[in-house]
């Protein structure tokens, strides 16, 4: 097992591809078909375009609060690519890449950030939970989903995401422990992007790595270069297979960096230096993957430009649709509190409708 070779307690981190796109651990390089490589790369590109555009729209006053994920594309796509369609995805709130991979439509994603609950009503066949805003609370849901898969003797695995900040929360602890005790088929990806809003990683906890927190649950934990899609993929794949075999959960820390602000309401210049951002920009997960593909002659600068252009058009068109979408109808804010509206709700809706009618006159 990888974890035997890359113990976080010994200060080891798994990386396979360097920032220049060179493969430095040939033995560990996953056997992915060219098609798959291109699919993943394109999805990273799309993620980047969707993300960059969302920020632009927001700056133009056309979008509400949005949580960018620029810089974390490999951590997300490398991990989710290790799962199958039947597996469950439990996001925190910044997993754009994983959502797209899972098949959520761009329109829904934008609709969500545009402030409409319909954005979280995923199609029946997509096994994915909506965004969990209360940090780390989703880890308990993920443990429960995985426990249920085990109970039903289904071989679906649950893959859940949490941030570096989230690991300090009691809900992280309880969910990890439940999953471990019940051998739940769960893989938890910590996207260690170095900050929880403005709070740097070292204020969050005194440990050297976040992966070593796995020790507290008696499960494997591994730290990987989160900007290296191959490292992330290989660790995730091994963890998914372990889980599918019924051997319980794994904790993976993907070391990465949020190149943008925490959300559109955040000003990161308050709490980090430009040099730091520049250093991390050099480790850009997309650039690195592109270099690799170009080296391998699977891709070219021209293709890249064309692809980006196409995505930009797609994204612009989709956002326009979202922008022109209707507001949430009055009925809908009442309709989903329970399966059937309570008499109370029926009356409140009716009274309010009457009031509105009276007002119109």
């Amino acid at each position: 097992m990888l974890i035997d070779k890359f113990s976080p307690l010994e200060g080891k981190m798994l990386s396979i591809m360097d920032p220049e796109g060179n493969i430095i651990e040939k033995d560990l390089m996953p056997q992915l078909e060219d098609e798959k490589l291109l699919e993943l790369y394109k999805m990273m590109l799309l993620t980047k375009v969707v993300d960059t555009k969302a920020l632009q729209y927001q700056r133009q006053g056309r979008m509400l609060t949005y949580a960018p994920n620029r810089g974390q594309e490999a951590a997300q796509l490398g991990s989710i690519a290790a799962t199958e369609e039947r597996d469950w995805l439990v996001p925190a709130f910044r997993e754009l890449g994983a959502w797209l991979y899972k098949g959520v439509s761009l329109e829904q994603i934008y609709l969500y950030w545009y402030g409409n609950e319909e954005g979280s009503k995923f199609p029946e066949n997509i096994n994915m939970l909506p965004v969990a805003v209360p940090i780390a609370s989703q880890i308990n849901h993920a443990a429960g989903l995985a426990m249920a898969s085990r109970y039903k003797k289904e071989d679906a695995v649950t893959m859940a995401y949490v941030g570096d900040g989230g690991t300090s929360h009691g809900e992280f602890h309880e969910g990890m422990n439940f999953a471990a005790v019940f051998d739940a088929p769960l893989v938890v990806i910590i996207q260690n992007n170095q900050y929880a809003i403005s709070v740097p990683r070292h204020v969050q906890t005194r440990t050297k790595t976040l992966a070593e927190k796995a020790v507290a649950y008696g499960i494997p934990g591994i730290q990987v270069d989160g900007n290296d899609i191959f490292a992330v993929y290989v660790a995730a794949k091994e963890a998914v297979e372990r889980a599918r075999r019924g051997e319980g959960p794994t904790l993976i820390e993907a070391v990465t960096y949020r190149l943008g602000p925490h959300t559109t309401s955040d000003d990161p210049t308050i709490y980090r230096e430009d040099e730091e951002v520049e250093e991390w920009a050099k480790k850009d997960p997309i650039l690195r993957f592109k270099k690799f593909l170009i080296n391998k002659e699977l891709w070219s600068v021209e293709q890249d430009e064309k692809e980006i252009e196409a995505y930009e058009e797609l994204v612009n068109n989709t956002f326009k649709k979202v922008e022109n979408s209707k507001e949430v109808p009055l009925e809908d804010i009442f309709a989903y509190q329970y399966e059937t509206m309570t008499p109370n709700l029926v009356q409140q809706l009716e009274d309010y409708r009457q009031y509105l009618e009276g007002r119109e006159k």
Binding site: E117, F122, L145, A148, N177
Partner: protein
């Protein structure tokens, strides 16, 4: 039919429903091997195996949070919180998630899950073992809060709760867990959530209560009737969604209203009841709608708790006052 107390009935009902529906799993602290500190789940692990009835680690957010995940993934978890005082660490999951998953996902996900917790005082217990915090949860849209007061109702309400497609907080009146027995039918029946019960019709005054205080209310009413006061007694059974119609209709008839509960007075269930009465039957009122409740204090330890508990004499006195007004 068998004679059962409330505790037996819970066990019997869980058993019957687990047999019928194998998507049900039952868990919580000490729930599995031991069968719960009150023995509500005794025998279930033996009968249905460790997969379906099991002990969990000591972590309430974990218990409720995993139940949410299970409910999404096709199961019907019934979890136990050992005492309602220990529900507090799970509030982020209950209020922040369980109550919201349907709305958040616009109906894609809903949570057929039940959180059972014994509530209330009067059992001479340690701190945090005697709370009545139903109002906190009744205030939250997306939750249902049910409190039975008899074995018969316990079965019907618990079955309804388990089969409800939405999360139900099922608060059990532990003080009267073993207080009395009733014939409980063997067969399957549900009592609709959201419907109060008119325990006894009357015409002078409406008294509304629920849960562990119902025996005191009934005792008081006997006393009052002896003195010629005709009391309409309503057992709420469901705190939320609350059954306004039954209450309003009753007050329209009697013109007088008394709410009785053990929970502290301010910002409580009785406050909502009084508001409902005002909103629905103001012109019928012949006296201020009023309430007999716990004081606005932390439930005292046993050597002071008796001051805080409500007995039938207090109910009698207050109802007389209201009738004389």
């Amino acid at each position: 039919m068998a004679l059962m107390n409330i505790l037996n009935t819970i066990n019997h009902t869980l058993d019957q429903e687990m047999e019928r529906d194998d998507t049900i799993v039952v868990y919580g602290e000490d729930v599995g091997h031991e069968g719960g500190v009150f023995r509500a789940t005794v025998g279930l692990q033996k009968k249905y195996g460790k997969e379906r009835c099991f002990d969990s680690p000591l972590a309430e957010a974990g218990i409720v949070g995993t139940a949410i995940g299970m409910a999404i993934n096709g199961l019907k978890p019934i979890v136990e919180i050992q005492f309602s005082g220990f529900i507090l660490p799970a509030v982020n999951q209950i209020i922040g998630h369980a109550a919201r998953m349907r709305n958040r996902s616009r109906g894609k996900y809903h949570l057929p899950m039940v959180i059972r917790a014994p509530y209330g005082g009067g059992i001479r217990a340690l701190e945090h073992h005697s709370e009545s915090i139903e109002a906190m949860f009744a205030h939250i849209p997306g939750l249902k809060v049910v409190i039975p007061s008899t074995p018969y109702d316990t079965k019907g309400l618990l079955l309804a709760a388990i089969r409800d497609p939405d999360p139900v907080l099922f608060l059990e009146p532990k003080r009267i867990y073993r207080a009395f027995k009733q014939e409980v039918p063997e067969e399957d029946y549900t009592i609709p959530i959201g419907k109060a019960k008119i325990v006894k019709e009357g015409k002078d005054v409406t008294v509304v209560s629920y849960g562990a205080l119902m025996p005191q209310v009934n005792e008081a009413v006997k006393e009052l009737e002896k003195e010629g006061i005709s009391v309409e007694v309503i057992d709420l059974r469901t705190i939320s969604p609350i059954d306004k119609d039954t209450i309003i209709n009753s007050v329209k008839k009697t013109g007088r209203f008394v709410a009785v509960h053990e929970a502290v007075k301010s910002f409580s269930v009785s406050a909502e009841l009084i508001s409902i009465v005002n909103e629905g039957a103001f012109l019928y009122l012949e006296a201020p709608p009023t309430r007999i409740t716990g004081f606005d204090i932390t439930v005292p330890l046993p050597r002071g708790e008796h001051h805080h508990m409500i007995d039938s004499a207090r109910i009698v006195a207050k109802v007389k006052e209201v009738v004389k007004f």
